[in-house]
Symmetry: C3
């Protein structure tokens, strides 16, 4: 898991205070066992507290079995699109936040860090196959496996394919049908990132959505590590084509910097979203 | 703890779908310390998620001290009858389920895997003494130690005695007065299992109850391990003498098979209950 | 963490039963990582079940970084006054309870063992500096960092200074402004304890409060270890100057004894509070 804490300024936050301390503490509780045949059976609970939570519950359980490159998950599974290694690649700073791209992603199911949000009978199955640098994952989630789903609700299906070429080029594509169980909320994502130098990468992400509030978004992003080997500068520019009430611009952008302490990192960023509100943060994150 | 997942078919389940995925993830969080005198003081929390739970809480705590064969428990204790090594011996397959015997047991308190069900002031004490292959356990539970119990509610008392003879014959007897705190809900259980061969056992269970919905139940059961040493076939036939509305027969039965993967097991079973509904399951369980 | 359980008698408890079993189980879940620079980043969750709780949640997270004697905490922090090594020094027996002193302390924030009591947006920061035997801690808590605080509510500030002289004399002083966020609930504490012999200590605690229900309290206390090195006798006398309805006396006192089992301890005490009610307990505690 990890811990992170810092200060966030959000212009026009709607709260009395636009500047708040935002922290998170996440601990995974893992257990596993191996069989004679070399299969590994495992399970995970997660305890995650976010700023604004009164206390902390564990989430629904994830069970998996893995062997020979194939992993099958049941329960609170990692969905295909959420497992993309690039869909969150525009995120900046200690909180890994991107108002311009991952902040406007259409709704889809993901590993539930806290609870099922009242969907007690939610059930998921996922499978991943890794062959060398090729990864393929499929996932299936139903909001209620016991009763018929209400009108407008469908089962979510997802597919992900990822490939790394020559340690230089990363490709990731994902398709989700009925994202978060919403009928016809189909989502397509494609991303590519190329290491133009050993210490510099540039990437392009595109997501299309049937959700009129979210629309299609394209982002170009990159990061550059300074000669000290510790300071990483990152930035993105994103364009979103929707026209909801309150939207001021089709362009959002952000720039951030992370300093590696060797086990922890300091990060700061400044971004501007599609409402032309500025968001700035500074804080630290450590993994354990 | 352990994890288990599989598919269950329940005829006339009353839900829209008679076939569902049923999973559980259980992790025990144990801590203990030893004193100079050789006493061991310990405690346990349990995190248990079952299919149908929105998230996971820890349960009420169990504290114990053990030394020289005597264990004393306080708090969320293991009750006498629930600790019987034979009362659940008719259970089949990956879920350890038996619609014909343990499915119709009268109500009694057990170690609470999740919460006290609103009985915040519930309090329990239990003691167990082990002498060679003889085990004796007594337990006491009150639903409310702070206030007078409401009319119809009493404290539950339980006794258990178990003996293993020559590694061949297992005997288990338990008596519970005011099971689950319900006045006059007295329960008597006796079970015996004999290893007729090294790889075959046969057993007989009997439980009597004052609960007119549950009545008296007798079951004969056995299991046989094939020559591969991994495949275990198990079966039971049970007879229940009550006559509640909807009951179609006095006889229930089931047959199951488990295949040991060496650290995990695959299991399947088919059973028929007293309403003449069929229940079938197939899945896997792994312990860690 | 630790476990403790025992029997408590409380005269005029207001419940049907004046005698109850009182248990607690506390487990801390810690994680930390160190950086190249020698900084330690860490975090803590706590699972705590008390008698009377239906189940157990984890509490809000605490994050900290420590290095070169300085520790900075964010989130669910340890407040200054609550971290005093002497403010709880009058407590007796297995439950560490003192009806005459810590039982009448005015309200202040402390590390939340379970939840924020509905103050979801509560946020705290604390810093501690240790230099040899001098410890200084400051803490800041706001009940709501997102919205303006309601009338009568303010941010709590706290300061603590502690010093140990020659392994013999312990001094501890704390000041808290707006304790528990209550405007003008200012609290001042001073305590001193001196080891008059290697096996005997005597101390004096004083706390002043603006809270008319709590008032000013002074306590003299001491403990003495018998020649067996295991039996510790402890006692206190306290005087409280307030005059609320139901108060019968200005003097409270108690005497207790603890027997060290080497990893666990047995404790018993008898106390009389300001309502002239007697409280007696006997039980055990073990740390792990």
């Amino acid at each position: 898991g990890y811990g992170r804490t810092g200060v966030v300024y959000q212009e026009n936050s709607g709260n009395d205070n636009d500047t708040t301390v935002v922290s998170r503490l996440r601990m995974n509780i893992d257990a596993s066992t191996s069989t004679d045949q070399g299969l590994e059976f495992g399970a995970r609970f997660r305890l995650q507290w976010d700023q604004g939570d009164d206390n902390t519950d564990s989430n629904p359980g994830l069970l998996y079995v893995t062997g020979s490159g194939l992993t099958v998950e049941v329960g609170n599974v990692n969905t295909a699109i959420d497992s993309s290694s690039l869909i969150y690649a525009t995120e900046l700073s200690y909180m890994d936040n991107s108002v311009g791209f991952s902040g406007v992603l259409p709704a889809f199911y993901a590993y539930a860090a806290k609870d099922y949000g009242g969907d007690n009978n939610r059930m998921g199955v996922a499978a991943e196959y890794v062959f060398d640098t090729l990864t393929v994952r499929g996932s299936y989630i139903t909001a209620d496996q016991v009763n018929d789903l209400p009108v407008g609700t469908e089962e979510e299906f997802g597919l992900l394919a990822e490939y790394v070429w020559n340690d230089r080029l990363e490709l990731s594509g994902a398709a989700t049908w009925n994202g978060e169980g919403i009928e016809d909320n189909d989502i397509f994502f494609i991303g590519a990132r190329y290491a133009v130098m050993d210490n510099a990468r540039i990437g392009l992400n595109y997501v299309s959505s049937e959700d009129w509030m979210k629309g299609d978004t394209i982002a170009i992003y990159g990061d550059y590590t300074l000669a000290d080997g510790r300071t990483n500068i990152e930035a993105y520019v994103a364009n979103n084509d929707q026209d909801y009430f309150g939207k001021e611009t089709d362009n959002a952008f952000g720039v951030g910097v992370n300093y590696d302490l060797g086990g922890a990192r300091l990060g700061g960023s400044i971004q501007r979203d599609y409402d032309e509100n500025v968001r700035a943060d500074m804080g630290l994150r450590f993994d354990f």
